[in-house]
Symmetry: D2
Subunit: 280 residues, 4 copies
């Protein structure tokens, strides 16, 4: 396929590279142009504007940081098949779908290393025919593709709820570790028991960070985490569905922000739980 | 070893059977005597009282439903090595240790099928020499043994925090499923995404129950779950460690109890989340 | 003064009438024109558009239902002294101030009967000289005027936090009444004790509604209450200040909305507390 | 009446004095005997033991710090009319009633100055005839007496819920003040608005303490407040009534305790809210 790719951050770079490797023709755009150089060496065409990237393409993939950034490039995607991979609000996804019948949402789960390895989880939603047409894109970037529904925003709802699942785990770990530290139990011991009990790589990796209190460098910073939980709560409000855990996590992330941890990994909410227990 | 085993409920029966299979000599006691018959056929001696079960034993294992039941048999264990496998309060564990220097806590993680298969996770705590002496017991009932510390109650703190980790997962799932049902997303789809993301048997099994809203028969009923969360909060209070998630889960379990779901699986808290979103 | 008044809802009508009674010249505008007739009989001029109402005035007072309604009339107020009495977001108040150096916020506390009686509490904020110039307006509509700061949005922050104080009281009452009903205590008895203890007209009036479970007609409906709590949380987010009580109230109001109580008085959150306790 | 009075703390001393002033014959007992001297000068007889105080009395009044202290003197009250004014658990009140058919609960609202002035609020519960018989006692110590029900523990439920109402106000104030401080609004200004809005002496006095951040000397320390909220939650659990606000307050009080504020006034929970917002 002839693809445009907009947004070459940590995630986007790996995704674009895998699309190129899968044999797709690629025109890339990034607001700060330096990031595109490596991809040019691998055969991608560097575009000077989003519009130029989208010219004559079969589909455009966007992977940007937030609603604002996506809205800024939306005009360039009009009339094109638009695959929105960014984590955006369900409200924006609905507006994008209203403005472009060929819009579909395909947010992804996975960290930059999974993006680099083409092993993301892709959650797509939109017209069935459109989803099928875009399969080659999903196959190139991910290890598994899910279809959440016929309306694009449903995929974003799944993505936001998935991130809420992770955020909730962080707070849960934080409270348990705080209590056990005060009980004189080694964090490492509790982590081993939880690994044996849950047997999940997500527990293993976040548990390790929290047990070691190593919140830098940030895999996913508080600021982005706070944005995602806020978006989950907005979706919940649209659906009139109370989410008290999500509300509480938002408050803990806000406390982390107020404490100056905004650029640390969002598992630093565990430090708020520790502080509330009188620990450092 | 010559062992006494007190408490032949769903968990205890499997544990006792595996001790027998491992070649230990076994005297068993249960308040309702019928449950002991099957074990008698496998070579266990049935005792008429806890005291009789404990006579001449090297160690006594207790696996009972709550603090009250354990306190009732505690006098019979005086002067013996006492391995407390029940999920009890940290306060009671401390009192048992004060009353008996040979007491150690060894609560277990796992459902009745894991008890039957000898694949429990055992979290022990107590004097190191005592823990080593009891290794054959742990090896017979579990697939892995952890040592939480030198004070018996520390193992109970780990057990209670582990159950809190599961309870928190239930509430998290409940809120996410409620929001997504209102968003028109199939619960099954979300479950598949979460299985791919977390890759954990605990997520798979509880997620399945919640997605299908099949809360009976109860794997672990609300009443016992409420007890454990309450005990976790008592431990947190002893440690002066706030656990707002645990507090909120307690309130949701209480709402489930008030709704008449006390004997259903504790994952029925997800039904409270659904009701709060206006769903059935 | 020569005043324009935009927004003749339950609150605005009483406020406009008191401005007229105090001798001010008045041009009024309302989207649905019927509501202006009564004021015309008292000497107000009816304007066909916000622009017409504002022509040649010394100041324009706006009293509208939400951010959207205020933004819609904002262009008509450019270049005029603009007294914003609506309960709006702090973010919008900042934008209004950026667009018009003569903007000041003056949200009010009080129900329609207090508006009619000219006994509102006025919380103003903005340039000191401007506040002084507008004193005659505040004196006509209120019994007391406060100055929250030099930036207009600070008055809105005070208003939103004040409404949060009331919302929190409703949830508190709801939980206490639910527990006491289950304890067999008459709600009326508890209300009398609380009236003796707090000696506050707000407790007396809301307590009466909740004890009698008379949520219709709505003094202030769930929908508006939810809006205000949401705005308080947005302000809290701007300030990086966690407000767990506000978060929880938002969830309870959302549950009330999902239960179909959106048009009932916001004290109906007490019915959510009752339902969670298994009561009707 | 011939009265025994047990417990001469800050509250009890004033209560006993007013009973003496009202002409009742009084035998007093306190664990630390020094406190009884002043009352002896006013005509009270000092007893060496609870039993001696109760000998030949018409009724015994107990005003002690917690369940433990009340249970310790309970044997001395057997067979006597026992008026329990302490803030105790509903569970203990039920046990006392089972052990003594002439037991009635009569917890009080008010600070030591109100006790000294005989202006407490008395919430009684028990057999109607017994309550009537004890009216002269209530009249001497209080300005108003309420009857909560026929079972003594109902009065304790009312007392605990009343204290919860105050605790909830503290947390609410704390969150509002924190947000407004970050918004640059003077605490004093907000307090004035709230006084005008709620017009309650409780708001005025606690608001003043919180606005000025003067948590010492403690009117009512965190430790006692934590005990009362814990007891309210125990009652809620007995009634299967979730109280999420009460749960959250308990966590905030626990955080205050962990921060070393256990002996400061319980309004210091507002300092936890401030800290979570990044303030001192």
């Amino acid at each position: 396929m002839k693809l445009a790719f907009i947004g070459l951050g940590k995630m986007g770079t790996g995704m674009a590279r895998n699309l190129r490797r899968a044999g797709h023709e690629l025109a890339v755009f990034n607001r700060t142009p330096g990031k595109a150089q490596a991809l040019a060496a691998e055969g991608a065409r560097i575009a000077a504007t989003p519009e130029e990237a989208c010219r004559d393409c079969d589909a455009v993939v966007t992977m940007l940081s937030d609603d604002l950034a996506v809205e800024a490039v939306a005009p360039a995607t009009r009339g094109k098949v638009h695959i929105g991979c960014s984590t955006i609000s369900t409200a924006l996804a609905r507006r994008l779908a209203e403005g472009n019948p060929s819009y579909l949402s395909a947010p992804v789960f996975g960290r930059p290393d999974a993006a680099e390895a083409g092993k993301l989880l892709v959650v797509s939603a939109g017209l069935a025919a459109l989803v099928e047409k875009c399969r080659p894109v999903f196959d190139a970037i991910g290890r598994q593709t899910f279809v959440a529904g016929a309306e694009p925003w449903q995929a974003n709802a799944v993505k936001l709820c998935g991130n809420f699942m992770i955020a909730s785990l962080l707070e849960t770990f934080g409270e348990a570790f705080a209590t056990l530290r005060k009980a004189g139990v080694e964090p490492q011991l509790f982590l081993e028991v939880m690994n044996a009990l849950f047997d999940s790589p997500v527990y293993a990796s976040y548990g390790k960070v929290i047990a070691a209190r190593q919140f830098e460098p940030a895999g996913f910073p508080v600021k982005l985490g706070l944005k995602d939980v806020r978006l989950a709560l907005e979706t919940a409000q649209e659906c009139a569905s109370p989410m008290p855990f999500a509300s509480l996590i938002r408050d803990q992330l806000l406390a982390a922000l107020a404490a100056g941890y905004g650029d640390q990994d969002w598992s630093v909410v565990s430090r708020i739980a520790a502080r509330n227990a009188g620990l450092d």
